[in-house]
């Protein structure tokens, strides 16, 4: 075995190329935290502009097929790009684009040739930002009970209903969404997916604040009031949406993996080294060391399982339960960490006060995000079910056993 990631000379040469290009094209403050809404919005627009420029080179969606505007690159080169973006505190894409990532990949599987040509290049070239719209007030973990109505009317579908916990701040251009196209049909045979122009008449977006600053600031409720969507925006077959959803959800439940470390540990260690408790540095207290050791241990386990997933993706050798396992553990570890950090550094972890707040506000953010992150992409209870299925636990009984 070899746990060290090494790069080929070609990949290292590519890194030099990427680094030089990013130095020329990315303003140094683009990865910085913003303080006002106006600043945040302006930064978002600049990140979109960067997205378009990355898109021109196939670097925005580097692993997507070139025929649809992606980079068609192998995973090692993708990793190089992601690493170089992260050095600038930016992701890839450098803005929230859940519908582009998951919707794009699902369209690749389920879209007609014409739909792939129409929907994918704008995503992969950074011309549009896409949100995914799944959750409804009465359809959370039970996505199959989605009720947002899409009624056929000639060459169009008419959409009515509501989606919640959607998107991010700063709006979107496209919605990748699941709807109910036949309210009378049996469960799992009544759903359909659409790629919808977010600017159509009848769409209202209402900000929905949550405890943490997720997705560029907040989530939204989106209301659909007689929104007329062309029928050729239906992807994957009418009433075939549950099958299509499985493609989408498998990606959303999974974790592709990475070889990153969670930076919060180094910040916590630094805090304990530089702050005094009862007259001596915190780190000199044995109980502080014990608590830090427990945190380090949990984060090392996460790092190693994430590395395992990365390697399995890298070698295209996925094992069914690995993805949901890491997603599940990331959620429960994040929640566990909130209390562990509170024990370690006390109420300084709960305030963003410039004098008292620990880790330059990162501790206080983690106290909130550790809770909020339990939900997106499905609850931990759903993840347990997904893991169990992948393990082959709870197989349906054979007829003679029923």
């Amino acid at each position: 075995m070899d746990f060290e990631m090494t790069y080929t000379p070609e990949q290292e040469a590519f890194r030099e190329e990427v680094r030089a290009w990013l130095a020329d094209n990315v303003p140094s403050d683009l990865g910085a935290e913003t303080t006002t809404d106006a600043e945040a919005h302006e930064q978002y627009l600049r990140r979109r502009e960067l997205g378009r420029r990355l898109g021109e080179r196939g670097w925005l969606y580097p692993s997507a097929p070139t025929e649809y505007g992606g980079g068609g690159m192998e995973i090692g080169a993708v990793l190089v790009l992601e690493e170089e973006m992260r050095r600038l505190s930016l992701g890839l894409p450098p803005y929230y684009d859940s519908g582009g990532m998951l919707g794009g990949a699902t369209v690749l599987v389920w879209g007609s040739d014409e739909q792939k040509q129409r929907f994918l290049p704008p995503i992969y070239k950074g011309e549009v930002r896409t949100w995914q719209l799944l959750t409804e007030p009465e359809a959370g973990s039970d996505l199959a009970s989605a009720k947002l109505a899409a009624r056929r009317d000639g060459d169009e579908f008419v959409l009515n209903g509501q989606k919640i916990f959607v998107g991010s701040a700063h709006g979107a251009d496209r919605f990748w969404m699941i709807t109910c196209t036949d309210p009378k049909a049996p469960r799992h045979e009544n759903l359909s997916w659409f790629m919808v122009d977010a600017h159509l008449a009848g769409i209202t977006i209402q900000p929905l604040p949550v405890l943490a600053d997720v997705a560029e600031g907040h989530k939204n409720t989106v209301f659909f009031d007689d929104v007329r969507v062309p029928a050729d925006c239906l992807v994957g077959g009418e009433n075939n949406g549950w099958t299509v959803a499985n493609t989408h959800l498998e990606m959303e439940h999974g974790a592709i993996g990475s070889i990153r470390r969670d930076s919060i540990f180094d910040k916590l260690l630094d805090y304990c080294r530089t702050h005094l408790l009862d007259g001596i540095p915190m780190i000199r207290h044995p109980d502080v060391q014990d608590r830090l050791a427990d945190i380090y241990t949990r984060l090392e386990i996460m790092r190693l399982l994430t590395t395992r997933n990365f390697w399995r993706s890298y070698t295209k050798n996925k094992e069914g339960y690995n993805g949901p396992q890491v997603t599940y553990l990331r959620k429960v570890t994040g929640l566990w960490l909130t209390q562990a950090v509170l024990e370690l550094i006390g109420p300084a972890a709960l305030t963003s006060d410039s004098e008292y707040g620990a880790l330059a506000g990162a501790a206080e953010r983690q106290q909130r995000s550790g809770i909020v992150d339990l939900m997106p992409g499905s609850t931990i209870d759903v993840q347990r079910v997904v893991i169990s299925r992948a393990l082959g636990v709870g197989k349906r009984p054979r007829p003679e056993e029923r």
């Binding site: 075995m1 070899d2 746990f3 060290e4 990631m5 090494t6 070889i259 260690l269 304990c272 080294r273 540095p281 780190i283 000199r284 060391q289 014990d290 830090l292 050791a293 427990d294 380090y296 241990t297 090392e300 386990i301 190693l304 399982l305 590395t307 395992r308 390697w311 890298y314 070698t315 050798n317 339960y321 396992q325 599940y328 553990l329 209870d381 347990r384 079910v385 893991i387 169990s388 393990l391 082959g392 636990v393 709870g394 197989k395 349906r396 009984p397 056993e401 029923r402």
Partner: protein, 377 residues
């Protein structure tokens, strides 16, 4: 990066697993619990022939000179049994520590005998009322007519009854041991007493002025050499624990799919699934911490000694905790049948508890990890 086994490693794994499936059946292991020594002496020759007993013995002394990965593969596969007895204690713990002593004819021939299965050496490292602190305590030797004599008690000596020798750290007063005494178990002044109860085969060994000639004292190498040997032992114990965790997962999944209650396999119940998910997560935590430590050991260079030490302590801490978690979750899945000693689940439960404190509990290992990472400097 490559996290797979090579073809050779996979063959080794398969061959050990075949042995475990054929020989170390649940029935055989349950029967062994009632035997005098707690292990099957006839396995020694087949394990010697296969090269497993000499895994850590250098090739020039008749062993295999395996790297950590190969040794770990054997340990993990035997842990699946869980195969009790001399392999882990004699061929891993004792052999690794003897390897860390200065070369003498007596040392070399002892290592050869371990690899042949003619010597079984039990590590007798535990001194009553002394905490484990990485081999920092020993028995004080005295001199009698030019011989060395040892008197005192060693607690929690694993598999002493079937052993031919004991490996005893000797030290003056509170000093760090500078030598191991190799004490033949059949000599005058050596007595052992089985500790009853849930603990796996552990003995109290009493030395009543047991006399040894000078060649039986093996001088321990430098502190770096000892730390390196201990790191290997922690990692290989972790691999053995990982094997137990993996077997517990397999058995629990299989049981959940075949045990029918309320007219359906119990695995259909989400509360049962929850136990299995926790078991799985604990197993993978132990497995991947251990695998990285193995890699670090085999790839080590002088610069990353601290990283290797930290990684070995992490692997041992996580594996000890995980083994108990896996056993506990498996009991929740299995219900009543799980506590029937004939059923075999308790073999793992017993190992999970018995290894928890052996050569350092998780808290101690985490503290050593902190020291290796030099956080407070």
């Amino acid at each position: 990066m490559d996290l797979s086994l090579t073809e050779q490693e996979q063959l080794l794994k398969d061959s050990v697993l075949t042995f475990v499936e054929r020989e170390a059946t649940t029935t055989a292991l349950v029967d062994l619990q009632e035997s005098d020594t707690g292990f099957e002496a006839k396995w020694l020759s087949s394990m010697a022939d296969a090269g497993w007993l000499g895994a850590l013995v250098p090739a020039e002394l008749g062993g295999v000179g395996a790297n950590a990965m190969e040794a770990a593969i054997i340990c993990e596969a035997l842990g699946r049994g869980p195969v009790p007895g001399p392999f882990m204690m004699s061929s891993v713990v004792s052999a690794a520590m003897i390897r860390a002593t200065e070369r003498t004819p007596a040392r070399d021939s002892l290592l050869t005998a371990i690899s042949e299965g003619t010597a079984v050496v039990a590590p007798a490292f535990s001194i009553p009322d002394r905490s484990w602190d990485g081999l920092r305590h020993g028995l004080a030797p005295t001199r009698e007519d030019g011989d060395v004599a040892l008197a005192g008690t060693l607690s929690y000596v694993p598999y002493a009854a079937g052993a031919t020798h004991l490996l005893v750290p000797v030290a003056e007063g509170d000093a760090t041991p500078r030598a191991f005494a190799v004490v033949a178990t059949n000599q005058k002044g050596v007595a052992s007493r089985l500790l009853s109860g849930f603990l796996d085969r552990n003995y109290e060994v009493s030395l009543d002025r047991a006399r040894l000639d000078e060649t039986c004292l093996l001088t321990i190498g430098s502190s770096e050499v000892v730390q390196n040997a201990l790191a290997l032992v922690y990692i290989l114990l972790a691999a053995y624990q990982v094997g137990g965790c993996a077997a517990l997962l397999e058995r629990s999944v299989a049981y959940s799919n075949t045990r029918v209650q309320f007219a359906m396999p119990i695995g259909r119940f989400q509360r049962v699934q929850d136990h299995i998910v926790e078991l799985l997560n604990a197993m993978d935590a132990a497995r991947w911490c251990t695998y990285e430590a193995i890699w670090r050991f085999d790839a080590q260079s002088d610069e990353d000694v601290a990283a290797l030490q930290a990684s070995a302590h992490l692997a041992q801490a996580v594996s000890s905790e995980s083994y108990i978690t896996c056993a506990d979750q498996a009991h929740k899945v299995h219900g009543g049948i799980g506590v029937d000693p004939q059923y075999g689940l308790t073999l793992y439960t017993q190992q999970s508890r018995s290894l928890f404190n052996f050569m350092g509990d998780p808290r101690w290992h985490k503290r050593e990890m902190v020291a290796a990472l030099a956080w407070s400097r």
